[in-house]
């Protein structure tokens, strides 16, 4: 019987297999950042262990980094200690680190692919759940906890039980104006925040094949929001072209050998998945969340759902709680929801194509009165690219704030936060209570919807901009 993509990559990394034990898997690439690594380095130090493979390890600073005044000392003493701890650990153990101010600094999941380190058929781990992003290249990539970070640092392996596989086949073609973010939000709303649990998802089908690498990363990024550890997409010419010439992509004979291997990385026709979901891309439209978990979403054209419409008691209860927290009433049109903050950035939508998409919409327009729009590139390099294209000027002229790279308002560990009761349209991946700041209310959206919402001051899609002037409340 044939094998799935995930099974092939898994099998290629088994160091040891024994009955009744989890497989011991080799890890090709270990990404580190300041939040989940200090206790792991401490563990190594206590046991007197070195980092086994410095040549497969790389660190960056992202969660705590300020996005303003980056040349000044970091104001928050606790954030500063955490960053300094990473710097000290990297120096002591010899780990390559890209610190604030370095051109390769940025959100860890933007940095790996941009350096060409994330490659098809590799295993990639990081102490961060959105490591699933790297699956866009046909890598088996998943988030791990700090104990596992220490385990990988010490042994370059992880003992793991093999998850099941689920195919998510997206037929047809995404309509104009519908982005990868809308697609993944719709998938999560369909299968639920627990739907992918225990599975590695493989996204496939004509609509996926047409996506750019950056759009594929947006999709795989949010696999964890459907409960899955990992999401993968079979590598193809689009992936090879993206990698060619990148700093750490193979060269010469190695490139040829790599491509030959990469071409074998797809699910066999007779491979069997443990579950399958089929989505018709043509039926989709811009999608936004109304609740406090990423599965609580609906098309922008819909209304806030009535909790009473849920048959399942725990879902009903969750919806009631969510509406209360979000300050929404059942039946209210989603388009009526006014926002006071718009965040464009994060490892979901902080890459150059995302910034271009948002810039195109705000160009020649103004951010609505009373709305604060924050644009935060996913990495310093993405920021430089945007500047070279003049996107920073477009944003600034529209009245948006152009910032330095980092996680920023995606989770508000740095000063970029929502105040209690503030409401954002955010291109990030989590709308949990308080995620963007205590008491803050988050609507997850695509970069296009974020930009249109900034201009109109309420949740909106770019299509709403043409029927100007839009009367309040439509």
């Amino acid at each position: 019987m044939g094998r799935t993509l995930a099974e092939k990559v898994w099998d290629d990394h088994v160091v040891r297999r024994a009955d009744g034990e989890p497989d011991l898997l080799f890890i090709d690439l270990h990404l580190l950042h300041e939040v989940t690594s200090p206790q792991a380095f401490d563990g190594l130090r206590q046991a007197g262990r070195p980092v086994r493979r410095l040549d497969l390890t790389i660190a960056t600073e992202d969660h705590n980094t300020p996005t303003l005044d980056i040349d000044k000392p970091i104001a928050d003493p606790v954030s500063r200690v955490q960053l300094e701890t990473l710097r000290k650990n990297a120096a002591e153990f010899g780990v390559r680190l890209h610190s604030l101010g370095d051109v390769e600094q940025g959100v860890v999941h933007v940095v790996g692919p941009q350096l060409g380190l994330t490659q098809p058929g590799t295993t990639v781990v990081c102490g961060d759940s959105h490591t699933s992003t790297h699956g866009a290249f046909g890598a088996l990539a998943f988030g791990i906890g700090t104990s596992q970070v220490e385990h990988v640092l010490a042994t370059q392996t992880l003992p793991l039980a093999r998850p099941k596989t689920m195919a998510i086949t997206v037929d047809g073609e995404l309509p104009d104006g519908v982005s990868a973010k809308d697609l993944i939000l719709a998938i999560i709303a369909k299968i639920g925040t627990g739907g992918g649990q225990g599975y590695i998802l493989e996204y496939r089908g004509p609509a996926i094949e047409k996506l750019s690498m950056e759009a594929r990363m947006t999709i795989c990024n949010m696999s964890i929001e459907a409960g899955a550890r990992a999401g993968m997409i079979a590598p193809d010419e689009t992936a090879f072209a993206y990698l060619k010439g990148r700093a750490h992509a193979p060269e010469g004979e190695d490139w040829d050998a790599a491509v030959e291997y990469w071409k074998t990385l797809k699910s066999d026709d007779d491979a069997e998945f443990d579950a399958e979901v089929v989505i018709d891309a043509a039926s989709l439209s811009p999608f936004v969340t109304w609740g406090t978990n990423p599965g609580q979403g609906a098309p922008l054209s819909a209304n806030v759902p009535d909790p009473a419409s849920y048959e399942d008691a725990s879902e009903r209860h969750a919806a009631e709680k969510a509406l209360e927290y979000m300050g929404l009433t059942a039946g209210q049109p989603l388009r009526d929801i006014k926002v006071d903050t718009v965040f464009v950035g994060s490892c979901t939508n902080g890459r150059i194509e995302d910034l271009r998409a948002a810039a195109e919409i705000v160009e020649g327009r103004k951010v609505a009165d009373g709305v604060r729009m924050l644009v935060v590139p996913g990495s310093a390099r993405v920021g430089l690219q945007a500047v070279s294209e003049g996107l920073d000027v477009v944003f600034k002229e529209a009245g948006a704030e152009w910032r330095h790279a980092g996680c920023s308002m995606c989770l508000g560990m740095n000063p970029d936060q929502l105040a209690p009761g503030e409401r954002s349209a955010s291109t990030s991946n989590r709308n949990f209570e308080g995620r963007q700041g205590k008491g803050g209310r988050t609507h997850l959206v695509s970069p296009q919807v974020a930009a249109a919402s900034a201009v109109l001051g309420h949740l909106a899609s770019p299509a709403d901009l043409s029927d100007a002037p839009v009367p309040a409340g439509v």
Binding site: V15, R16, G20, E21, P22, L24, F26, D28, L29, V35, T36, P38, Q39, D42, R49, L54, D55, L56, I58, H63, S79, T85, L117, T122, D128, S129, G143, I144, G145, T146, S147, E150, H151, T155, Q156, T157, P159, P163, T193, G194, Q197, G198, G227, H248, A249, P250, D254, A258, Y261, N293, S314, H317, A318, G412, M413, R430, F432, E433, G434, R435
Partner: protein, 197 residues
């Protein structure tokens, strides 16, 4: 890691589903660089509300959390497990845990027990009505017991063996050094390297 064989204690019934790790321990606590001192951050936002169950005097000293479905979703932060442990919890019962949270908990000796929702409901009801009611989580017998309730649970044999013996994963893996070295020796040269050699 401390070994886990069996534990008996009073419970905190938490009737909420989809409790994500941002609720268990908010992000600003993640700036700490140690593994201890997270107890005050546990469910920090909810604890501001005096009526929140953890604030009830009769729940003081409880060690078993009986949670709603999909407990521990969201981020990979192991701090969520440390916070529960620092607070004093030894075991969490739910009908469904998020994968990463579950893995983290078992690595730290916090036993996460999966039981059918109707049994979780029964445990919640029992401990809501009687804060003094005790729950026993017996890893040796793979059984949860409370007044009028006995339920078997599953846990894979390997994880159970490690928990029962309090074994550290890294030492177990390093016993297979030969296998790791052999794998490394045959890795293709086109695989990425972070350092140019």
């Amino acid at each position: 890691m401390e070994a886990f064989t069996t534990h008996t204690g009073r419970a905190v019934p938490l009737r909420r589903s989809n409790v994500d790790t941002d609720q268990i321990i908010p992000a600003h606590w993640l700036k700490k660089v140690t593994r201890d001192g997270f107890e005050d951050g546990l469910f920090e936002a909810w604890r501001k509300d005096a009526s929140f169950i953890l604030n009830q005097p009769e729940r003081k000293g409880a060690t078993v959390l009986v949670a709603g479905p999909d407990f521990g979703t969201g981020s990979s932060r192991e701090h969520a497990v440390w916070a529960l442990q620092n607070y004093g919890f030894k075991a969490v019962v739910s009908s469904r845990f998020a994968d990463i949270f579950r893995g983290n908990s078992l690595k730290n000796g916090l036993l996460t027990v999966v039981l059918e929702q109707k049994i979780v409901d029964a445990l919640q009801e029992l401990t809501e009505n009687d804060p003094e009611a005790e729950i026993t989580v017996d890893l040796q017998a793979r059984e949860v017991r409370a007044e009028g309730i006995t339920a078997a649970f599953e846990l894979d044999e390997n994880a159970r063996w490690r928990l029962l013996n309090g074994l550290d994963d890294i030492s177990i893996t390093l016993q297979n050094e030969g296998d790791i070295a052999a794998y490394e020796a045959k890795r293709p040269s086109h695989k990425p390297k972070t350092l140019q050699v």
